[in-house]
């Protein structure tokens, strides 16, 4: 907080003055948390690995370079997988699908959820009720079951997986967006545009949306972490990237039978998926702390 804001918080004798922080302040506060630095660092590491991996990979991910489940050696630093392909190469090639599909799915989920949430939060009660009850139906299925349901109808297509995971997120995002909208819509500045006769769409996206971005940003980061888990799980179950392409979730499935013989082929992808979700979650946590303004504990 700036000195002026601290002074205001102490001196404000007229209560109920809502002062959302400006973006620069939020980002600076977010970055001031140790957890954000760690989280962003971990995320950046995975992102670099996923983007630059293919360029520095020693082998092609589909090239057979030795016996199946061979232990680490000079030729294959992390050993080989179930078909004798280089584990390192498959790791370097297999990150991009997890990262990109998760980001896409989260984006779709946010777009859908925010739109529905804004509409529900600002609409008359009957429309709000209809939208939210329909979303409850989707919410009744666990995300992964919902995705499996769609995939089992259409077959394992990447666009479908992205859409399914995104749709799974939509109800939860919509709830957050609706809650925030309800609060913001009570403000007189919304009424002041109603009096002018400004269209509903412009009120939703021009007046309300800019004021609920903080909770949505936190929600985005959280959903991203969930997306990684679900996308990796779907790949593990064989509904994501299809062999022989490389993918971290797929690798776990392919190599789990030899866990005791060649652990690297399973543990390293598990570790990388873990790092990705932990990194994103930490950054999300830092962001939400900055927004609600939790006091920093010593050492945190």
């Amino acid at each position: 907080m700036t000195t002026d804001q601290v002074a205001d918080s102490i001196l404000d004798e007229t209560a109920a003055v809502s002062r959302p922080k400006q973006w620069a302040t939020i980002l600076r506060d977010t970055w001031s948390y140790g957890r954000t630095k760690v989280g962003v660092g971990l995320f950046a590491f995975i992102l670099l690995l996923a983007v630059l991996g293919p360029a520095v990979s020693p082998h092609s991910p589909t090239q057979f370079i030795g016996l199946p489940f061979a232990s680490p050696s000079h030729a294959a630093l992390l050993g080989t997988d179930n078909l004798g392909r280089d584990v390192l190469a498959r790791l370097l090639w297999g990150g991009w699908s997890v990262v990109s599909l998760s980001a896409l799915a989260t984006g779709i989920g946010m777009a859908l959820g925010v739109t529905l949430g804004l509409i529900a939060g600002y609409a008359p009660a009957w429309l709000d009720e209809i939208v939210m009850r329909l979303l409850d139906v989707v919410l009744a299925f666990p995300s992964i079951v919902f995705a499996l349901l769609l995939v089992s109808i259409e077959g394992p297509k990447l666009w479908l997986i992205v859409l399914a995971v995104g749709m799974g997120h939509a109800p939860r995002v919509a709830r957050v967006a609706r809650g925030a909208t309800l609060e913001v819509a009570q403000n007189e500045y919304v009424e002041s545009t109603e009096v002018l006769g400004v269209s509903r769409g412009r009120i939703l996206f021009g007046e309300i949306l800019p004021n609920i971005t903080s909770p949505l940003l936190v929600e985005f980061a959280l959903r991203l972490a969930y997306s990684v888990g679900i996308i990796a799980a779907l790949s593990f179950l064989g509904f994501g990237i299809q062999p022989p392409n490389a993918d971290w979730g797929l690798m776990i499935n392919e190599n789990r039978i030899a866990l005791s013989v060649q652990p690297y082929a399973v543990f390293v992808p598990v570790l990388l998926i873990g790092i990705l979700t932990i990194g994103v979650s930490l950054a999300a946590d830092g962001l939400s702390r900055a927004i609600v303004g939790i006091e920093r504990k010593p050492g945190a």
């Binding site: 001196l11 007229t14 003055v17």
Partner: protein, 595 residues
């Protein structure tokens, strides 16, 4: 002689992080049985100074220097357990907003009993229950089990404040710090609560520090008055001295900014804004807004000097001022005393009734507004005045019956369904400029909204109109790039008015537009509205609960109660010789400054 109960010496409070001073060199004393009124505008640091009597500071602030002596003991040096016994036991605190200080999850019985138990009052539960019922009697609340079983949200604002008062007086403290206890209440409730406070203080012989921004309230309760500005005391004296022979220029200006139900002149605002911590000038903090400023004021902080027996002021020019102990020059005459151009009929309401769900909030209301005229809608909270205003502008979401005609045309219920010309011609200004301006939009974007909605114009033309509107409300064009949170409350309300002006309205509806502003700012906004009516011929419907403001600005007054109009007429008739009992009660309950 009274003995001194509380002594605050050279108190300095600063921000923990940066060391910027919030309060500096504040010295106060409180005698037994005395009520000291601490007056100041928002951000003057009055609450910060007051709560330091309980050795308390809000997070981020720190008492950097000074002593607070309570019965001769330094409160600031007490251990946490001693402090806990002292707070509530010897010195109690009544906060501004009772709904925030009562725990919403506990019955009031539990909360009242807790105070008594915490301070070991009485020997048995029976003693405490007895005391509790006595307290309820004293604050004029029913003490029966049914009432005590209620939760805070089941009480009205006035009842909540009475419960908090009961908690404060429960352990018979020696001192009470009252922090704007009547600010959120309407005049009638305020009058009753003030009466209760005065009675309790006298009955218990309790000393009190009464913090408020409202000089009229101070006049009703305080024996002595201390005036604060920008974190320093500028003047102290007896009530009589402060109100009849004020010395400090700030005190004088503050007094002329307070509207009065009997005055013939408009209240005068203080131009400029009060400096916030970290932006306070060297020397006298008031120098930038003072007419009498000399060079010395800008460099050296004036010390508190005795200007009369029992009266102190911090001003380099006090000697010149004592001899001319007059208030500052007279303001312009109240609007109703001035000849004004009267326009034709603009707005007419016939038999308008409105409902909130099943509850009827307006009952066959009739109203006529002519252009170039200011009509005041007066009433307590819940009287239906805001509902009426919202019906006119098309914001009321419930059922409405009856006809509203504007410029000869009948109006549809909701603004969205009305033709563009009507939406443009009727503009609404909201109560709180803190929530009526979108915090994510710059002033230029805010002003541009009505221009884009109603007029098809080029960017240069738009800019010209915005600057023009800002000039009307005495704001510089440099504010166009700023966000609302970079403006003071008064500046925000000016922007809100400028936004309404951009639409070139024929009718402005002002809903309690000054109630969230300081008195000095309130006066400037009233002046501004009055000038706008004269210059542009716009009609104004001024919704308020403040009768003294009505007298200053309105030509016609409509008094409402329980959704009905109880009295209507010219300002002279209604305030001069009120016919309805309700109007007479309202007038009697309006606190006044003794002249």
């Amino acid at each position: 002689m009274h003995e001194q109960l509380v002594r605050v010496e050279h108190l300095r409070i600063e921000l923990e992080s940066s060391g910027i001073q919030i309060d500096d060199d504040v010295s106060l004393s409180l005698n037994c049985g005395e009520v000291l009124g601490l007056v100041g505008e928002s951000a003057s640091g009055k609450t910060t100074a007051a709560v330091s009597l309980l050795a308390y500071q809000r997070r981020g602030a720190r008492i950097a220097a000074g002593n607070v002596l309570l019965k001769g003991r330094d409160v600031l040096g007490l251990s946490p357990s001693e402090l806990r016994k002292t707070r509530g036991g010897v010195i109690a605190y009544v906060p501004q907003d009772p709904s925030m200080s009562l725990n919403p999850a506990l019955r009031i019985h539990t909360q009242l009993l807790e105070v008594l138990e915490e301070h070991g009052f009485g020997n048995s539960r029976g003693d405490r229950e007895g005391r509790l019922r006595d307290m309820m009697d004293e604050v004029l609340l029913p003490g029966d089990a049914d009432f005590l079983k209620r939760y805070p949200h089941q009480l009205s604002g006035g009842q909540q404040q009475r419960v908090v008062l009961a908690m404060a007086f429960a352990c018979r403290p020696a001192v009470i710090v009252l922090d704007e206890p009547t600010t959120g209440l309407d005049v009638t409730t305020q009058a009753h609560i003030l009466q209760t406070i005065r009675r309790l203080l006298a009955q218990y012989g309790v000393s009190a520090l009464y913090v408020t921004h409202d000089l009229a309230v101070i006049a009703a309760v305080a024996d002595r008055v201390a005036v604060m500005y920008a974190g320093r005391l500028v003047e102290t004296g007896s009530r009589h001295q402060i109100f009849s022979k004020p010395v400090h220029p700030y005190t004088r200006k503050l007094l002329s900014a307070v509207p009065d139900v009997t005055a013939r002149t408009m209240p005068q605002g203080i131009p400029g804004i009060a400096p916030r911590p970290g932006h306070r000038p060297a020397g006298c903090a008031f120098s930038a807004r003072c007419d009498l400023v000399v060079d010395r004021c800008r460099h050296e902080v004036p010390p508190m000097e005795q200007v009369a027996i029992g009266q102190h002021a911090a001003c380099w020019r006090w000697a010149d001022l004592v001899s001319s102990s007059q208030r500052t020059g007279e303001g312009s005459l109240c609007r109703w005393l001035r000849p004004t151009k009267q326009g034709g009929g603009l707005l007419e309401l016939t038999d308008v009734s409105a409902w909130h769900g099943r509850r009827q909030t307006l009952d066959n209301v009739e109203l006529a507004v002519r252009s170039g005229e200011c009509t005041a809608l007066v009433g307590e909270s819940g009287s239906g005045k805001t509902t009426l205003a919202r019906c006119i502008v098309g914001l009321h979401k419930g059922r409405v019956e009856g006809t509203i005609t504007f410029g000869g045309q009948a109006l549809r219920g909701m603004a969205r369904k009305r033709p563009r010309q009507t939406r443009q011609a009727i503009q609404y200004i909201f109560q709180s400029p803190y929530s009526s301006l979108n915090p994510r939009k710059t002033v230029a974007q805010l002003l541009g909204r009505p221009l884009k909605t109603f007029f098809d114009m080029r960017p240069q033309e738009m800019e010209r109109r915005m600057v023009e509107a800002l000039e009307h409300v005495s704001l510089d064009r440099s504010v166009m790039g700023r966000y609302p949170d970079q403006l003071s409350g008064g500046e925000r309300q000016r922007v809100a008015i400028a936004r309404a002006l951009c639409a070139q309205p024929a009718l402005l509806i002002c809903d309690e537009v000054t109630s969230s502003l300081d008195v000095s700012v309130q006066a400037t906004i009233v002046e501004l509205l009055s000038r706008l009516i004269d210059e542009t011929g716009v009609a104004v419907v001024f919704v308020t609960h403040h009768l003294a403001l009505v007298r200053a600005i309105a030509q016609e007054v409509v008094v409402m109660s329980d959704g009905r109009i109880v009295e209507a007429g010219t300002t002279e008739q209604v305030l001069g010789s009120p016919q309805a009992d309700y109007t007479r009660h309202l007038l009697a309950d309006t606190p006044q400054i003794p002249l």
